[in-house]
């Protein structure tokens, strides 16, 4: 009956600067909450919208059409042996993943302020759940993109197996950048305005609407943007290697990603203990 005293866990100690000790263990213990938070956001979004899941399709379809029109028809960019809309769609997949995750992570803490000031849990769960939400949206789009590619005559190859690597890469870029924004937004609400601004620029400096292998002079510059390699990687996987992959760019991109992510985590953890006081 009194068995709890036999397996009594070590006492919890609260002291200034001591939250560190339990952090990663708690993160694991609260893993179910991560799922619940993501589930809540997905569910709420589709409950409020009359068209539901259709939004995940309509928006990229319109964007595909627009970007094809601008880059292919107006700017006369070449598509090579790939139908241009498919080229754009394969680029939009990682871009949607990134922009969804980045803006979600960026606003996650402020949007969950009521939770943060009332309950304890590792705060990192909040931005992580935003990444999960963006990932689910991308899966929906991927389920449409794959049959579309087959219709256009591009059959799946073994390269698809590498796709998870680029999906993870894209999410890490978004998480790294988003952690900075969300932690800064807690203190300075100005950073809310930075996200849409960065995304507006991003859609043009990331090769979403064009191919980099036809722009050799610009490749190294474009590779400084960590998303460039992710977009190229997505295309290489989805389009059966019909586009060229730039290895040097990938290393550069991974280095930038690691820098963003480690810095973002460091800043987030550093400011985390003040969130409840400041938010």
């Amino acid at each position: 009956m009194n068995d709890s005293s036999f397996q009594r866990p070590s006492p919890l100690i609260i002291e200034a600067g001591l939250t560190e000790r339990h952090y990663w263990r708690d993160l694991w213990r609260y893993r179910e909450l991560l799922g619940f938070l993501a589930w809540r956001d997905v569910k709420v979004r589709y409950k409020q919208a009359a068209l539901g899941a259709a939004w995940a399709v309509v928006q990229p379809a319109v964007q595909t059409f627009l970007l094809t029109f601008v880059f292919n028809k107006l700017a006369k960019m070449p598509g090579g042996d790939v139908p241009y809309p498919l080229l754009v769609l394969a680029g939009l997949l990682p871009w949607q993943l990134f922009s969804g995750a980045f803006s979600g992570v960026g606003s996650s803490l402020v949007n969950n302020a009521h939770l943060i000031s009332k309950v304890y849990f590792p705060r990192l769960l909040v931005p992580l759940s935003a990444v999960v939400v963006a990932f689910i949206d991308m899966l929906v789009l991927l389920l449409i993109a794959l049959p579309y590619a087959v219709i256009e005559g591009i059959d799946p190859t073994w390269r698809l197996l590498v796709l998870p690597f680029f999906i993870c890469g894209t999410m890490l870029v978004a998480l790294g950048a988003g952690l900075w924004v969300t932690a800064l937004t807690v203190k300075y609400r100005d950073f809310r305005f930075i996200t849409p601004f960065l995304l507006q620029i991003g859609v043009f400096v990331t090769p979403v609407g064009f191919r980099t292998d036809f722009l050799p002079n610009w490749r190294d510059w474009l590779a400084l943007n960590p998303l460039t390699s992710m977009v190229e990687g997505f295309r290489w996987c989805l389009l059966g290697g019909r586009t060229e992959f730039y290895e040097r760019g990938l290393f550069l991109s991974l280095a930038v990603t690691a820098f963003l992510l480690i810095g973002g985590l460091w800043y987030f953890r550093k400011t985390e203990r003040q969130f409840a006081d400041v938010i």
Partner: protein, 409 residues
């Protein structure tokens, strides 16, 4: 004796108040940096002020204790609970906690209006630290306790506030931690449900032997629930001990407060009617905040009527220190022309028990409330009052107000 469930040593929490930077705007930080690029640190320090929400707090709570934490607003109760719940970090000191701890600082944290009751049970449970398995196991019990079976699949935004609170408390009540921290949750819901919540909390505390920390302004529920109480004031522990004793110290302290001034009228009242003055005095016109038990007294409410008022009612109410409404008195509704008025309320028939009371003043017109506020605190003292007890008698608020007679048969 078992080891303490909670041990708090030298706990302090400092907040820094920024006087100049009114908001956390990047612009302000940048501007300060530009003005003083090399002395940024010093420049900001000059405009900051330290504020200790908690200072040198020491106490320990034994396993199975039910401790009420009381104190006025701003005494540091909420800060203490936030630190114990690990929402915010202490600045100094150390807390050692034995056992699984769960805190309930708000009813329905994380409830989402768009989600159904069923979905919110799972979400809220997860937020409060339950696993999916635990929630599933307790699900039927939670639903039964909340009494919202019929609306389980309705989005909670369509719930009445009572249903919402019931569901939220039900989830929290089934948490089953070894240590439960509860803040002021009983301030919501109807009386019947409040009773049910109190009952549940008592069950958790006494039958299951859990440790409970309970913060409330509702002194009767603290009295009912807790054996021990702790009084906080200005971030320090003033008194710890048996509940009744600490409550008495608290209630006594309340009477020392200066009377609350008449609040300035809100703009919409300026061209209608508003209170200008309130005075509490004995019948020989000596203004006082301390009255003897059984001594007749008078409240005088001065008010200004700016535009003609119909069915105008002036009323005063009396509340005990623990928030219980004792009585209300009002003048018959009448039509009033613009001008200055003074209404008088005389209490010469009923003797109230010794203790602290709050006087409320209300103005209304044609059943529409114009103004209502807590006007003053008065204290009835039994000292030197013939025929009454010096302290709180416990015989009820109204003393000896019936006609009595004795006949030899």
């Amino acid at each position: 004796m078992s080891e303490p469930a909670i041990m708090v040593e030298g706990l302090g929490k400092r907040y820094t108040l920024h006087h100049q930077a009114r908001t956390g705007l990047l612009r302000d930080t940048l501007a300060a940096l530009l003005r003083n690029p090399f002395r940024h640190g010093e420049a900001t320090r000059a405009t900051e002020e330290e504020f200790w929400a908690l200072r040198d707090v020491n106490f320990s709570v034994n396993q199975g204790d039910v401790v009420g934490i009381i104190g006025r607003n701003g005494a540091g109760k909420s800060t203490l609970l936030k630190i114990l719940s690990r929402i915010t970090e202490p600045t100094t000191g150390r807390i050692t906690i034995q056992g699984r701890i769960a805190s309930l600082l708000e009813v329905g944290t994380g409830f989402h209006g768009e989600l159904s009751g069923r979905e919110n049970i799972f979400l809220n449970g997860a937020i409060l630290g339950m696993t999916r398995m635990e929630i599933r196991k307790k699900f039927d019990e939670i639903v039964a306790f909340s009494e919202v079976e019929k609306f389980l699949d309705t989005p909670v935004k369509h719930y009445s506030s009572g249903m919402y609170v019931r569901l939220a408390f039900a989830v929290a009540a089934h948490l089953e931690p070894e240590i439960l921290i509860v803040d002021e949750v009983l301030a919501v819901g109807d009386i019947a449900f409040q009773k049910k919540c109190l009952g549940k909390m008592r069950e958790v505390a006494t039958e299951q032997g859990r440790t409970v920390l309970f913060v409330s302004h509702n002194l009767p529920s603290v009295r009912q629930l807790c054996r021990t109480a702790m009084l906080l004031a200005n971030g320090r522990v003033v008194s710890v001990g048996p509940c009744a004793k600490v409550l008495e110290i608290y209630q006594h302290g309340l009477t020392g407060a200066t009377p609350i001034a008449v609040p300035p009228p809100t703009p919409d009242l300026l061209d209608r009617a508003y209170t200008t003055k309130i005075e509490i005095e004995t019948l020989d016109c000596a203004p006082t905040a301390v009255l003897q038990v059984g001594c007749p007294w008078r409240a005088r409410v001065g008010f200004r009527v700016v535009s003609a008022q119909h069915n105008f009612v002036v009323s005063i109410g009396l509340k005990s220190a623990d928030g219980t409404s004792i009585q209300t008195a009002w003048l018959p509704p009448q039509d009033l022309a613009p001008g200055e008025y003074a209404a008088e309320f005389v209490q010469d028939r009923v003797a109230l028990e010794a203790g602290a009371y709050t006087v409320l003043v209300g103005l209304s017109e044609s059943d529409r409330g114009l103004q209502q506020f807590e006007a003053a605190r008065i204290d009835f003292s039994g000292e030197g009052a013939a025929g009454y007890y010096a302290g709180t008698s416990g015989f009820g608020f109204v003393l000896n107000s019936m006609q009595t007679s004795l006949r030899k048969l």
